[in-house]
Structures are given as structure tokens and as C-alpha cells.
Symmetry: C4
Subunit: 212 residues, 4 copies
């Protein structure tokens, strides 16, 4: 294995580990009820009180999961990397590592405005850093040569899906805290939409010189 490939591998490895730890630490913030009784009703009530925590756990698991899947997809397209992507990647990992806090804050009081704003803001920061990172990484000599240019552009555009959904969620949090998280279910839609837009634009630009 070439030295650069091995260094790239170690960078993705370190990133994977941070994603995996943050995603698994989410459960630590869901506090286990300790009841003195064996009564079914008491337990069901205690679990129901934890509902916002369960929702927060599942939502953040899916969001961090999606961030990892995107990271996995993009870094799988690379053969090498520019050393300057190191710190944007580290800052992205910082927002991911911050997610267990933002999730627990949101779950502690799911209809309060400030926690929802913090949560959506963390996602917005993660989304913007991810967009910058992918735009820097997916550049000419670093991408595998067998990947069509329009797929590279589409993948770069696709990363707009998360920050746009997070921004909508942030704005909605000011008016309807709690409900605003519905916006995040638009992520799969937005990413596909932006991918298609980017790909189309790339294809048009490729054709342009031929047409001219």
C-alpha cells in the first residue's frame, strides 16, 4: 500500500472511531429509572417519561449515522488527500462529539425553545463543516480517476442537504419548538434533490463547449 493511501486510511479510521463512539455514547445520557416497586404501571409511567430521551437517542443515532454514511461514501471516492483537510475534518468531528450533549439538552425539555435552537444549530454547524470538507476533498488529483465528473459534482452538492434542513429546523424552532425536528426528516429528500441539481449542472457544463 502506498504511503499516502495508508495515511488516508488512518485519517478515515480515526474519524470512524469518533463517529462510532459519539453514536454509542448517546445512550449514556438516557438515565435508567430505579424504582422500588415491581408494579407494571409504575414502570410504564417511568418509561413514558423517558419518551423524549428515546426520541432524541433515535433521531441523533440516525443523524450521526447519516453523517458517517456520507463520510464513508466521500472518502471511498478518494485516492489521496490534501493535508489541509485535516482541520476541517477535526472540526466536523468536534460537532459530532458535541451531539450527545445537544441531544441530552433537547431531550431534557423537548418543548423549550433554547435547547431546540442549540440542537438545530449543532446540526447546522456539522452540515456546513461537512460541506466545506467535501468541497475541499473532492478535488482533481485526489479523486479516483474512474469516477465520472458529474457524480463528483453531484456528491459535492448533495452535502447541501443537511445544512439546509438544519437551517429550516433552526428557524422553525423559534416558532414551534419540538415540532421543528420534523424538518430533519426532509434530509433524505434534500440530499437527493441537491445531488440531482449538481449532477445536471455538471452535465450541462460538460456539454457547453461542444455546443459552443
Amino acid at each position: 500500500m502506498s504511503s499516502n493511501a495508508s495515511q488516508l486510511e488512518r485519517l478515515t479510521f480515526f474519524s470512524d472511531a469518533v463517529f462510532a463512539i459519539a453514536i454509542t455514547l448517546l445512550i449514556i445520557e438516557v438515565h435508567v429509572p430505579h424504582l422500588e416497586t415491581r408494579d407494571d404501571g409504575a414502570y410504564l409511567q417511568a418509561l413514558q417519561a423517558l419518551q423524549p430521551s428515546f426520541f432524541g437517542f433515535a433521531l441523533s443515532f440516525l443523524v450521526i449515522g447519516a453523517l458517517w454514511v456520507a463520510h464513508h461514501r466521500v472518502f471511498g471516492m478518494l485516492v489521496d488527500y490534501k493535508p489541509s483537510i485535516m482541520w476541517p475534518n477535526m472540526l466536523l468531528l468536534m460537532t459530532v462529539a458535541f451531539m450527545p450533549f445537544a441531544t441530552a439538552l433537547m431531550s431534557s425539555n423537548p418543548l423549550a425553545r433554547v435547547p431546540e435552537v442549540v440542537y438545530a444549530g449543532t446540526l447546522l454547524a456539522a452540515g456546513l463543516l461537512q460541506f466545506v470538507l467535501f468541497a475541499m476533498a473532492l478535488r482533481a488529483p485526489y479523486v479516483r480517476s474512474d469516477i465520472p465528473a458529474e457524480h463528483v459534482t453531484g456528491t459535492r452538492w448533495r452535502a447541501l442537504g443537511l445544512p439546509v434542513a438544519a437551517l429550516l429546523s433552526l428557524v422553525a424552532a423559534c416558532f414551534a419548538p419540538g415540532v421543528n425536528n420534523v424538518m430533519l426528516f426532509g434530509i433524505p429528500l434534500f440530499t437527493r434533490l441537491f445531488y440531482a441539481l449538481g449532477q445536471r449542472r455538471a452535465l450541462r457544463l460538460q456539454l457547453a463547449p461542444v455546443e459552443g
Copy 2:
């Protein structure tokens, strides 16, 4: 290394990390007694009170360990993967990451019904997701060509062992909470049984056209 193999490696790597973190986090939920005295009797009593936590730690360690061993076995049979297995795998990891919570809940009151149902239900969800994942992954162009077809079928069937044992444990939890976990010791038996059934069926089907 080919690009697909490297992407498969990173997927298994991320999964391994989540398994490893969830299995090691189990101990965090066993709360260390802080006694003012050095008296042997007081310590022995405090440790005895922790017995359900020790049992939960050991049981969940073995169950998550078994889930990892199965994941390791199946992914070792692959040369490539369908991108659509990504999310079933992520959901399986979510149930694994949830295990420390389910374990601590069960250990907090080992004879209460609801915690036992939650624990068995978590295992049932993990078992079903694992079955779906393996059934999707162990398909024609993705499996190593040197593996006999009946072994592939047997391995797919084998994954029925955990959900069946978990379902029995779930039903038993309603009648005899605490005792129901005995069902889980049937996992090694069930997996072997289903493996044999699947293998036999595959061999019969292979012979059928010859007989016809």
C-alpha cells in the same frame, strides 16, 4: 485492495467499533459502592446487592459478543456488498447501542415484568434486524465464490436462533419475569439447529433437479 473491498472493510470496521464500545460501556451502569467502613461484611453485602448488575453485565456481554461473532462470520464470507444493507446494519447497531440501557433497566429490578419485557424486546429487535441484514448480505454476487451454497443457506437460517430465543424469553417474561432469561441460554442450541435445517433444505433443493 479493490475499492469495494476497502469500503466493505470500513463498514465492518465501523460496526466493530460500535459493538466494542457498547460491550465495554456495559460496566459503566454497574454503580461502584462507596462505603465509609473497611468492614468485610459490609462490602460483601454491597457486592451481593449488585448481583443482578453482575448477572446483567455478563449476560449482555455474551449476547453482544455472540452478535459480533455472527457479524464477523457473515461479513467474512463477503467480497462485496449491496449499498442497501447500510441502513439495516445501522439499525442493528442502534439496538446494540441500546443494550447498555436495557441491561441497566433489567438489573435495577430483576424480578419486575416491564424491564424484562424491554430487555427481551430489544434482543428480539436485534435478532430480527440481524436476520434481515444477513439475508440481504448473503446473496449471489456478494458472497465469496469458494463457499458452498448449503453453507450460505445454513448461515442465513442460523440467524433465526436469536430472534426465536428472544421471542420465547419475551413470552416467558410475562409469566415468570427474571427466570425468563434462561431461554437465552438456548441460543447456541437454536442457532445450531436452524443451521442444520437450512443446510439440509439447501442440499435437498440442490439434488431435486437431478432427481426430477
Copy 3:
């Protein structure tokens, strides 16, 4: 890379992750003092009260570190593995994952007998499992062919160092709790001693047929 080598790699990888998580989780059990004052004396006193926790952290970090170094050395000698080593390895990892609890228990009251016995007992279990695992793994077709037989035998014997030191510490814990941990500083000595004994025995046996 051959399929077996890749499966062996994933097994060592999973083990590495559990070692790494357990060793890093040790610090979570050292509780951070929260003082209302900025007074130097109050802080120094609070840190001094934590001395047993710092000692426990450092001791367990070195012990788990030594267990990992030994695992790293032995698995580096292998080209393949017997599937039956999977579960002894998993049980060894269980004792490693238990270490943060045993450490916190010992640190909570460093002169009490029961916590010291639990700590030494955990190490004894880890040491015995490690010995069994290495004895099973370091067998004929699995070891790299360029490694001299006497080095293999020496490495197998070497694994007696930890259980012997842990047993001495366990016995000493009954009479002089707290002081008994001094025995553990004998681990580097014992491992070297047993390595030399095993190597010498292997060399004598190699010569025997020639002599006979």
C-alpha cells in the same frame, strides 16, 4: 490478503478496540471535585483525597496496557487462528471490560480487604484466561513458520507471569490489604523468568532426540 488473515485481523481489531475503550474509561471513575472556592489549599486537599483513585488509574492503565502488549505480541506471531479461540478471547475481554469497576471499587477504599481481593481476583481471572488463550493460539499450523519453536514455547510460558503475580497479590490482600498491590510490580520480572524457563525447556526437548 487471504480470507483467514483478514478474519484474524478483524478479531485482533475488535480486541484492540475493547482494550482501548476499557483503558480510557478508567478515568471516568475518577470523580472531579467541584469546589466553591478558589483557595489553593482546598484544591490540594481535594486532589490529595483522590490519591487512591490516581494510583488505581495508573496501576490499571499499566496492567491493561501490559495485557494489550502481550496480546499484540502473540497475535503478531499468528498467520491464522482456530475458531475455538474466539470465546476464550471474548472472556478475556470481559475481564478487561470489568477492570474499570474493579479499579473504582479498590480506589474507593484502598485499605479494605474485599475490594483488594476483587481487584486481584479480576487480574487472576484475566491472567488465567490469557494463559489458556495463548496456549490455544500458539499451536502448530497457526504460528508463522519463521518463528523458532523455543520462542513460541517461551511466549506461552511467559503468560504465567500475570496469573502468578495476581495470585500472590490475592493471598497478600487477605493479610495486608492495599500493600498487596506491590506484588504486581513483579509482573515484568515474572514474565521474563517464565519466558526463560519455557525457552530452556523447549531447547532441552529439541536436543533430547539427538541425545537419545
Copy 4:
């Protein structure tokens, strides 16, 4: 892959995992406020009270990140390793694993002298161990042959940046606790300075025999 390369890979892997876990555990020490009210003002006040914790999280994330980036850079220059670097590496990892404690202590009372001294002292220990480790690792037969000698010397010198900044921060902590952390922002400057000094010195020494 040669056996030594694979053992080196596993050593870097284990180190990466400890770095990744320590960096992600930082967030656990930031305690989530649980308010009964949904009032924006109450939440903003609670978050403002957490400001030192957020600062500590971000600072330590960047410092551990920088330690990992340096480790990644240096180990990427190696083809093999001296077994004797194992324990300096383990001690470096011990200081990294200690960082979540030192960070939480500092954040608990950011203007108190003792916590700042402990934090700066931990960084100083990490910096000195890193310097010793890199000086041992970057030796003749272990470094990739295509790397110019002056770059090797520069990289060795570069590792003086962190301990020097940590020492300045430690001294400043005695006079202006809290403010002293400003010194740490000098790390990027110091590392570049020492790199240039080391590189220049190496080039002068290379020319010396020719001149003589």
C-alpha cells in the same frame, strides 16, 4: 504486508482508538442542565454558566486533536519500529486518557490556580513524552528511506512546540490563572519555529563535512 508493518499498523491503530475515545469522552464531563421551566432566559443563563465547560471542551479537543495529528504525521514516516517505543507510547496515551479529568477540573472553576496548574502540567507531561517518543521513533533504520534527513530532524524538533507552550502556560498559571491558557494558542507558532530551527541545523550539519 510484512509482519513488522502489520505490527506497526496495530500499534498505531490502538493509539488512534485511545486518542479517539479520550477526545469524544470530553463531552461527558459537560453536565446537561435539567430545568423545570421552558423559559428562554433560564436556559440561556444555564448555558452561560456552562461557558467554562464549553471552552474546556473546545480547547482540549483541539489539543488532543493536535497530538493525534502529530502522531499521525510521525508514524506515517515509519516503516518499522523499535519495540522499546511501546512503553513511552503507552505513557503518552495515559496522559491523553487523563485529559478528560484535567479538563473537567479546570472547567469546574476556571480562575482557580491549582486546576490550571494540573491542566498545564498534564499537557507538559504529554508534550515531553511525545518529544521522547518521536525522538526514539524517528531513527535511522525505522524511517522511510525517501524522506529527506532535514525533514526528519525538523519533525523531531517540532515536537518541542507543545512542551514549551505548556511550560509557559504552567508558569503563567501561577500568576494569572485562567488567562494562562492563551499561551496554548502559541502552539502552532512554536511548532513551526522549532521545525524551521531543526531543519536549518540539519542542513548546516549536512554541509559541514563538505565545507571542512
